[in-house]
Structure formats: C-alpha cells, structure tokens
C-alpha cells in the first residue's frame, strides 16, 4: 500500500476531532518519511524501506482504537451521548414527532379542524429542520467530529428543508389569500378580520420556519468553516509529500 493511501486510510478510520486527527497524521506522516529515509541510507531499497517504516509506524486496528481512547473528549464517553450518536435518526424522528405533537396540542381540537393543511406540512418541516440542526450540532459540539461527506449531507438536507418550508409557507399563504378573497364580498367584518389573521399567521409561520432554519444553520458555520480548513490541511498532507512517496516508492 502506498504511504499516502495508508495515511488517507488512517484519516478515514480515526474517529477523533479534526485538529487532533491533523496532528496525529502530521506526526505519523513525518515520522514515516524520516524513518524510510534512514532505512534507505542504511542500504534498503526504497520500496523495502517504505514497507518496513509502514510496518513499524502505521497504526493497525488495535493501535487506532488506543489512539481514539487517548484523544477522545471526556464528554463523548458519557452513555447518553454515545446513545444519541448511535441512534441519531431515531432521536431526530422523536424530536420531530414531539414538536409536531406539541404544536397540535397547542392548537387544540378546533385549531386542528380549522387549520390549513399546508400549516401542518410547515410544522412537520420545522420539526425536521430542528432535528437536522440538532443532530448536526450534537455531532459538532459534543462529538466534535463531522466529516466532509456528513457536513455536506446535513447541509444539503437543511437547504432542501428550508426551500420546502418556504414553498409550503407560500402555498399555505396562497390558500388563505384565496379563501379571504372568496369571503371578501359576502361576510361581516369580524369574519373577514379572522380570515386576515389566518392569512397573516400562515405567512408568518411560512417565513419564520425557513428564516429561523437558516439562522440556526449559520450558528454552526464558524465550526464548520474551521473543520473545513483543518480537513483541507489534512488533504494537503497527502499531496505535499515528496515525489518518491507518490511513485511506488521509486526515486524520481
């Protein structure tokens, strides 16, 4: 296995915070090339020197587990956090269902009967936004590890939910506006004002969910940007090595 490839594999396997991952990879990468150079000077062929350096210094599965234990933040070892990390989807669904149920209970039986269906779609989407934000935040702040692919997945999901929430809000508002226009000529002012209030509250909810969802995601961005920068440095480690390490162990 090529040293770059081996380091990249170690990067994928090692579940520690990105800054610690960077320092472990930098240290092992530098030691690998220094040891391989020493072994070459002592008469070994480049490929044999590499193989021997890798055998000594590249952590196997047991060493990776020991490294993770040495670098794990204390709080991530707590049982509830381990459970949440493992059952992230279940936790997200439970959060969404609880939020929707809480809103439904708040609305009461009358409210449920009278509500515009798009409002309930909006409530469900708001719940999913909260769940997506909470699980990403949990991994970022408590687990302190959210890989590039995961960050992208959470980000895309959040963006999709924001667009869907905005669309549901717009459709709900349109339905309420249409109902209000139908009422306009025929009904008394109190009923008309009731319609206006429903229109306003549907529009407010339709705007609040995507805007708050966006703001919530923005609250995660400083850490996301920091992780992105650290991972860019990690990626540079794999491409900035001397050519002999990218050339099957042969001298350039």
């Amino acid at each position: 296995m090529q040293p770059d490839e081996a380091l990249a594999r170690l990067d994928r396997a090692l579940r520690v915070t990105p800054d610690r991952r960077l320092s472990v990879l930098e240290e092992i990468g530098a030691d690998l090339s220094a040891l391989a150079s020493e072994l070459r000077r002592s008469g070994l062929s480049p490929s044999a020197a590499h193989a021997q350096a890798a055998r000594r210094l590249l952590p196997d599965e047991a060493a990776i587990t020991a490294l993770e234990a040495a670098h794990a933040p204390e709080r991530t070892r707590a049982a509830p956090i381990v459970w949440l990390m493992r059952w992230e989807r279940v936790a997200a669904l439970a959060l969404t269902a609880s939020l929707t149920a809480w809103m439904a209970l708040g609305a009461g039986r009358e409210g449920l009967r009278a509500a515009n269906p798009f409002v309930w779609v909006e409530v469900g989407l708001a719940g999913l936004l909260v769940a997506n934000w909470a699980t990403a935040g949990l991994k970022l702040w408590l687990g302190e590890d959210l890989r590039r692919e995961e960050r992208r997945r959470y980000g895309q999901r959040h963006a999709g939910l924001i667009v869907a929430a905005f669309a549901a809000g717009a459709l709900g508002t349109a339905v309420e506006a249409y109902a209000l226009i139908e009422l306009a000529g025929a009904t008394s002012p109190p009923i008309l004002w009731g319609g206006v209030a429903r229109l306003a509250s549907t529009a407010a909810l339709g705007l609040a969910a995507p805007v708050l969802g966006l703001l919530a995601w923005l609250s995660l961005t400083p850490r996301l940007v920091r992780y992105e920068r650290i991972e860019a440095r990690i990626r540079r480690l794999f491409v900035a090595r001397p050519p002999r390490f990218r050339n099957g162990g042969r001298e350039p």
């Binding site: 320092s23 240290e27 092992i28 030691d31 040891l35 000594r56 210094l57 060493a63 020991a66 490294l67």
Partner: protein
C-alpha cells in the same frame, strides 16, 4: 494484569529512552529496539497511543518544530522522571518477587 504490566513496561521503555534526550517518535521506536537487542519493539504504530497518553498525563512534552514539514519531538518532563524512578523501583520489586517464586518452584521440582 498482563495488559497492565505490558502497558507499564512500554511506558517505562519510552520514558527511559527519552530521558537520554529529546527524540521523534520513530527514533524512540528504533532506540527501544536497538537498546534491548530486539527483545522489545514497537510495531504497527503501537508507540503513538503510548506517547500521546504520556503527553496527556504530563509525563512527556511534545514540541512541534516548523521546517519543510512540521515534526514532533518528545522530551521527558520532571514528572516523567519522577514516575520513571518510582515505577522502575516498583517493577524491580515485583519482578524480584516473581523470580524468587519461580526459582524456588523450579528448585523444589
């Protein structure tokens, strides 16, 4: 017991090598193997968790040097020296007891 003993021996090997002067991780691995005639060696990256744990416990300190490439050098701390002295004495005593028992048993047989 076995895991604990092996952990202690590994820590003492690392500390004793570092007591002679600061070194990079791979140099520690080479020194341990050379100085013990190959009886003890660190393979498959087992050295790094030990070094990092010792560093977290304040028994060694790791310093990054900036050059073409960042490299980490380890040195033993005062607490590490103290730990090495204490643990060496304790291990000496434990092995003494063990060897005494084993010799007695083999003589009796």
């Amino acid at each position: 017991m076995q895991a604990n003993l092996s952990k202690r021996i590994n820590e003492l090997l690392v500390l004793s090598v570092l007591q002679r002067g600061p070194a990079h991780g791979y140099q520690v691995a080479l020194s341990v193997e050379e100085e013990t005639g190959g009886t003890f060696s660190f393979q498959h990256g087992t050295l790094y968790p030990i070094l990092h744990r010792l560093e977290a416990d304040g028994l060694v300190s790791g310093v990054w040097s900036d050059g073409d490439r960042r490299r980490k050098t380890y040195a033993v701390t005062d607490a590490g020296r103290e730990y090495l002295d204490g643990e060496t004495g304790a291990l000496e005593h434990e092995f003494g007891v063990l060897l005494h028992l084993l010799r007695d048993t083999s003589h009796a047989a």
